[in-house]
Amino acid sequence: MKLKTMRRDWDSRVFDTINITCLSIILIVILVPLWNVVISSFSSSKALAEGGFIFWPSELSLENYRAVFRDNSIGQSFFISIAKTAIGVVTHVLFCAMVAYGLSKNNVRGRKFYVTMGVITMFFSGGMIPTYLLIKSLGLLNSFWVYIIPALLSFYDVIILMNFFRNVPSSLEESAKIDGAGDWRVFLSIFIPLSMPAMATIAMFNGVSQWNDFMTTKLYITNEALYPLQMKLYEIIVQSQTQSMQNIGGSVIIETTTKGVQLATIVITTLPIVVIYPLLQRYFISGMMLGAVKE
């Protein structure tokens, strides 16, 4: 019996060792490429042209970042990215919360119709071209508001908030109503403060997708003054690719300067995500679980 237990402990230890080794390899596979990008963005164009490094370039320099900021448009893009994310998140969350609060009341006339109408939008959409034609006829092409208005409502988020509102004890609402508060007052001064955790979760995910979104720009915006960082980066990538394909065997210098600019822009574009990532992490599980709740 004792021998058997020892043997099992041994098995278990072998299992743990293999498991942790494999996970460590996975960590390396994720971290090394990321590190390589970051450190490459800080290397001089000479070191970039020579290549030959993975962890540490032969010469460090800030010239790539200087080159990026010499171009004023990057500051403009940064501003657009921040503006569209901040305004987009606040309006999205408040708009969804308002609709969700209305739909969380069972005695609302026409509720079944409203909910059915919303659920259909979760499964069917007009797709790329009809949506483009709509945006065009609304005059939203080349307007900043195309980032905000079409993104106001997601019925998925409405359902999440609606379920959250339903779990708020009704006694709070009743006592406020006795004091003469209307629905809007109850919503703004009781439900909004109470549902901060749920709204924060939605805000986080919505914020990341606003920051990372590039298709909206690609489809509806041609005015470079309205380009967010993602689109700016895309332009740089496409430009340098066509350049380097023209220059196969040609001048290496152009390729490496654009490469340096590209790397620095990648880091700048990703930095805000990495900075709020620790904050974001608190909402992962709650966010996914909220999403998994069916109506």
């Binding site: 099992r8 994720i30 409502l153 990538i237 590209q262 574009t269």
Partner: protein, 320 residues
């Protein structure tokens, strides 16, 4: 909703019910004023584009209005059948999707089990933190990174040279035959960690006494995984499988747009990017809409049949 007027004993007439509806509606104006902006929004931004799908059956040009364009019945769909480039994009979409299904579906399950089995809580947290991170990078950022990793002086070539696997650096993004693998593996690199979250949430609910009982019966760790952990994940696995199968014809437009170049286009063009190219670049709105509509109809059929099959496998319990 009829319960609201349940205090009326006899069944009220239709006219009375309509009147009651409006009386209630006006009485609830505050609540209704919260919902209606949403209703109007959905009408404009979701239902008008759904109506706009009719241009798939019309010959629509930029100067037309949607309702005045002439009907052409199924003409656009007939063109699809003989469109060589469309079918090329279908082959690429399916090829990449099946690779993603075969590998990308399994990896998060295995990774979740591996993370679940770690008992050092510090290490476990660290692995989770790092493996979720790539999910939050945009495809444009990751595309830019991939282009740099695969460049002739980039990480990938340096690594292979150092290991002696190749003698000459080559940019594999310019090699069409490698594209499907690049698309698949980069997607796995980005999403596998994030894909573990729901599995880990399910596993956290498994009753630990199962494992204790299995230990007493002499089951080793692998046996415990096989007989306890995996059966408990079955429902979540089939839910994910259904969603993956219904998405077989969907493809990642961001990924394709950033990784496609003139050299690998023949293997990189997928249905979504083809719709984009036909519609937005070439301005053939009707044709592009027809392609998109056809593909979404097939996707719905896939979803329904995948649900039916897994329902049978799961003892008639539907996961959707």
């Amino acid at each position: 909703m009829s319960k609201a007027s349940g205090y009326i004993s006899e069944k009220p007439s239709v006219g009375h019910r309509i009147k009651q509806f409006f009386v209630d509606f006006v009485r609830q104006w505050e609540i209704q004023s919260m919902i209606w902006p949403g209703v109007i929004f959905m009408f404009i931004f979701c239902y008008i584009p759904i109506y706009g799908l009719t241009i798939a059956f019309k010959r629509y040009t930029v100067i037309d209005r949607i309702d005045s364009a002439p009907w052409v019945a199924l003409e656009n769909f007939e063109i699809i059948l003989s469109d060589k480039f469309f079918w090329e994009s279908v082959v690429n979409t399916l090829g990449i999707s099946f690779l993603k299904l075969a590998i990308g579906f399994i990896v998060p399950i295995i990774l979740a089990i591996m993370i679940y089995e770690v008992s050092l809580s510090g290490f476990k947290k660290f692995v989770q933190t790092i493996s979720y991170l790539p999910h939050f990078l945009s495809w444009i950022v990751l595309g830019g990174m991939l282009i740099n990793w695969f460049a002739t002086t980039g990480l990938f070539n340096e690594l292979l040279l150092a290991l002696g696997i190749i003698d000459e650096p080559r940019n594999i993004l310019l090699d069409p035959d490698k594209y499907w693998w690049i698309a698949t593996l980069s997607d796995i690199w980005k999403e596998a960690g994030w894909g573990t979250i729901l599995y880990l949430a399910v596993m956290a609910k498994i009753d630990p006494t199962y494992y204790e009982a299995a230990k007493i019966d002499g089951a080793n760790r692998l046996k415990q995984i096989w007989h306890i952990t995996i059966p408990n994940m079955k429902l979540m696995i089939s839910l994910n499988l259904i969603l993956t199968i219904s998405g077989l014809l969907g493809s990642n437009l961001d990924q394709t747009l950033v990784l496609m170049n003139s050299q690998n286009r023949e293997k990189a063009e997928v249905i979504n990017s083809y719709v984009y190219r036909m519609g937005m670049t070439q301005g053939d709105f009707s044709y592009a809409t027809a392609v998109g509509l056809g593909v979404s109809i097939v996707s719905v059929i896939l979803l329904v049949s995948a649900n039916a099959v897994t329902k049978r496998l799961n003892d008639n319990q539907s996961v959707l």
